[in-house]
């Protein structure tokens, strides 16, 4: 079974630029999550999708962050414009049907904003 694929692996941008991250979940996984992990912190949930609908985006800074999951498969997370404090690893995870079935993290995208 292929894992959760994320790209790019690394990205360096200047503040006020925009950036997008891509996630391809495990085939058949209906639930997809984006987490932000700042250095020295645990991951923080940004958004949860069930198929192509948003279940929870209460911690997503909607003035600059957006996410979509077209067709209920791949997902993209965008930041526009980026701030220095957005420097973090962005982790995508997917699950068959929620935490009780276990979920798998991707390797993440490390974003540095300079």
């Amino acid at each position: 079974e292929a894992g959760v694929a994320q790209s790019p692996r690394y990205k360096i941008i200047e503040k006020r630029q925009s950036v997008a991250f891509w996630c391809n979940p495990i085939s058949g996984h209906a639930t997809l999550y984006w987490y932000q992990q700042i250095l020295g912190q645990g991951p923080k949930l940004l958004i949860q999708f069930q198929n192509n609908g948003v279940v929870d985006d209460s911690q997503l800074p909607k003035d600059r962050f957006s996410a979509e999951r077209l067709k209920g498969v791949d997902s993209t997370l965008k930041i526009q414009p980026a701030k220095l404090e957005d420097s973090a690893v962005y982790l995508c995870a997917s699950s068959l049907a929620g935490v009780v079935y276990g979920y798998t993290f991707g390797s993440g995208t490390r974003l540095t904003v300079v």
Binding site: T31, G40, L45, D56, L91, V99, Y103, F105, S107
Partner: protein, 113 residues
């Protein structure tokens, strides 16, 4: 607001030692507590705990949950250098269809040869 506190934040021990990592939580509508190991980027699943007092074991690792006192411990016996990692504790709360996890800051464990 859900809260997870891990201690210690960092720990350095020698190979062969036994370590105990702590996790306390405050969460509304608790459903489960999970432990993950994070070596490079992707956290890897260790345990899911839902019931008090039932120890889960996997090789040299074990974990137990106390739902009355709202904490969990992760034990690693006969530590090896390969156990060096950040150990993350997370809680899942019942919030309708939302089941994202709230993580602690992690315990950075270093095993010296």
């Amino acid at each position: 607001e859900d809260k997870v506190v891990q201690s210690p934040l960092s720990l350095v021990v020698h190979e062969g030692d036994t370590v105990t990592l702590n996790c306390s939580y405050e969460v509304t509508n608790f459903r489960s507590l999970l432990w993950y190991k994070q070596e490079k980027k992707a956290p890897t699943f260790l345990f899911m705990l839902t019931s008090s007092g039932i120890e889960k074991k996997s090789g040299r690792l074990s974990s137990i949950l106390d739902k009355k006192e709202l904490f969990s411990i992760l034990n690693i016996t006969a530590t090896q250098t390969g156990d060096s990692a950040v150990y993350l504790c997370a809680v899942e709360a019942i919030r309708g269809g939302a089941d994202g996890l709230t993580f602690g800051k992690g315990t950075h464990l270093i095993i010296q040869p």
